[in-house]
Amino acid sequence: MMETMTKTPLKDNSTEDVKYKLVAENISASYDGIIAVKNVSMKFRDKAVTALIGPSGCGKTTFLRCLNRMHELTKNATLTGRVLLDGEDLYSNKVDPIINRRKIGMVFQKPNPFPTMSIYDNVACGLKLNGVKDKKIIDEVVEGCLKMASLWNEVKGDLKKPGMSLSGGQQQRLCIARALAIQPEVLLMDEPASALDPIATQKIEEMIQELKKEYTIIIVTHNMQQATRISDYTGFMYLGDLVEFGETKQIFENPRNEITAKYVQGQFG
């Protein structure tokens, strides 16, 4: 616990109104015999954006996938540690991983709308396949989520068109709408803008600022400028370790660790 405290220079003890939505404790993860994450502990605040940065292969994505139990679907994956969502351990035997994936939405690096489904069905399928039958509610959610993903105005006349007919940036926003449709409380984003052009990226970043008011957002990014633009907190990972974690401003302007300093100054990466 002490280690967690020192690694998280947030005002743990000062105020009661600080609320941690998601807490990862001593997460170690490996796949195919490669240890990707080494004993990482992090606390994620509610209604804030936390960015995970670090060079390729530092374990950011693997760590992110541990947070909604997607990591265990990887071949030969192992994992130790705990992840608490509102104080409840996701990895406890009593908890169904499926229910938690509904509370923790995920957006992937490459846009992956379901190829055989229309724009409407892509957003609606999370509801339909989770048992929602009321057509009115589904309609409402689809419209609402497409609006939140700022895609509604571009597609409202073409909801029956295949999701794959959209441009890359639109597809990614469709995937975000799809993730939002199951009404998650936490949104995990794995480099959501890395495959997109600057304008599409900007749209997604604006959207994240908007979504932050309601969600706990954790975003993996390669792009340090992006981290400074959109995140409130930043964690720097290197070779599977969480090297430094703090307010974004502090990490980029006044890093305490030498490796962090070198990385944010662009000396390696």
Binding site: N68, L73, R101, M117, C125, I182
Partner: protein
């Protein structure tokens, strides 16, 4: 690092013989083209041959009537055989397609272990089985036990013939669906079986349909297993527990008769069988893959615009 001198040295090793390359390119193209011709010629030859030999037999009566007595002037038709083949295809698919698709799902989604490998191996062996063995097996298992030739026995035998084909093509086409779609499904909190049955299966639809159609075409032409199971008949279907006729059986019977008119009828029946399989193929593709065809059309339109 590679030095400038090294780079110049490396470049010397590339061959810039453009003329030779262009010729080689054309030669390869010709070989490919020739092979296609070699493959297509027999196909066309068979079609032309079957049609020209059997055209004389084709008529409405030929398609709808029961066969006449052997050697008599009234040749009759192949109505029962067409009906029998359709019934057999339907019933065998009813058994073979669900079991085969489920088996393919097992192999692709849950079969990455010892059991999966064992099942896959024996499934491949089954696909290579001489179908007459399957006929004899069904004869002993069903015909002898029940005490008679029946539609059921024939469907059972044919479904065993189609099973390994459906299973293997299902597995292969499911494996082609990228893991990212599965992950997107899991991330939405959708249960594994639902992800498989809705997202993965619909992504693999065209491969799946092709596999099923291949197996249907295969069983539509099977003769050996039918000799031991449905026996053949010159009447329309009496019931699922009785014998019926089938086109391959009828073709075989007709062509081994010593009358020219019967042989012509045999050719006619063969032509009917080819057309039947072809129309099932086109019909099923139209029904299940329509949407894909539409997007293809759209692509073409977009292409012609630019």
């Amino acid at each position: 690092m590679i030095t400038v001198e090294q780079r110049a040295e490396f470049r010397k090793h590339f061959r810039y013989n453009v003329g030779r390359r262009l010729v080689l390119d054309k030669v390869v193209k010709c070989i490919v083209f020739l092979c296609v011709v070699v493959a297509v010629v027999p196909l066309v030859a068979i079609l032309v041959n079957v049609f020209s030999n059997g055209a004389a037999a084709l008529s409405w009566n030929f398609l709808t009537e029961i066969p006449g007595a052997v050697g008599s002037n009234d040749l009759g038709g192949i109505g029962p055989a067409i009906q029998g083949t359709l019934v057999l295809i339907g019933l065998s698919s009813l058994i073979g397609v669900p079991v085969g698709v489920m088996g393919g799902i097992f192999l692709s989604e849950y079969g990455n272990n010892k059991y999966g490998r064992t099942v896959r191996f024996f499934n491949d062996v089954l696909a290579e089985f001489p179908t007459i063995v399957i006929g004899v097996f069904t004869f002993i298992l069903i015909v002898l036990t029940v005490g008679g030739f029946s539609v059921w026995a024939g469907s059972f035998a044919l479904s065993i013939v189609m099973l390994p084909i459906v299973m293997r093509t299902t597995e292969e086409s499911l494996k082609l669906v990228p893991v990212t779609y599965r992950e997107a499904g899991y991330a939405l909190g959708i249960r594994r079986w639902r992800v498989v049955f809705t997202i993965v299966l619909s992504g693999a639809k065209s491969g799946l349909v092709t596999g099923i159609l291949l197996s249907v075409a295969r069983i539509a032409g099977e003769t050996a297993p039918l000799v031991f199971t449905i026996l053949g008949s010159s009447q329309f279907i009496q019931g699922l527990d009785g014998p019926i006729d089938a086109l391959p059986l009828r073709i075989w019977r007709l062509s081994s008769l010593p009358y020219d008119s019967s042989v012509t009828q045999g050719w006619g029946a063969a032509f009917v069988l080819i057309i039947l399989v072809l129309s099932i193929n086109i019909g099923v593709r139209y029904l299940f893959l329509r949407r894909k065809g539409q997007t293809l059309l759209k692509f073409k339109r977009l292409g012609s615009m630019s």
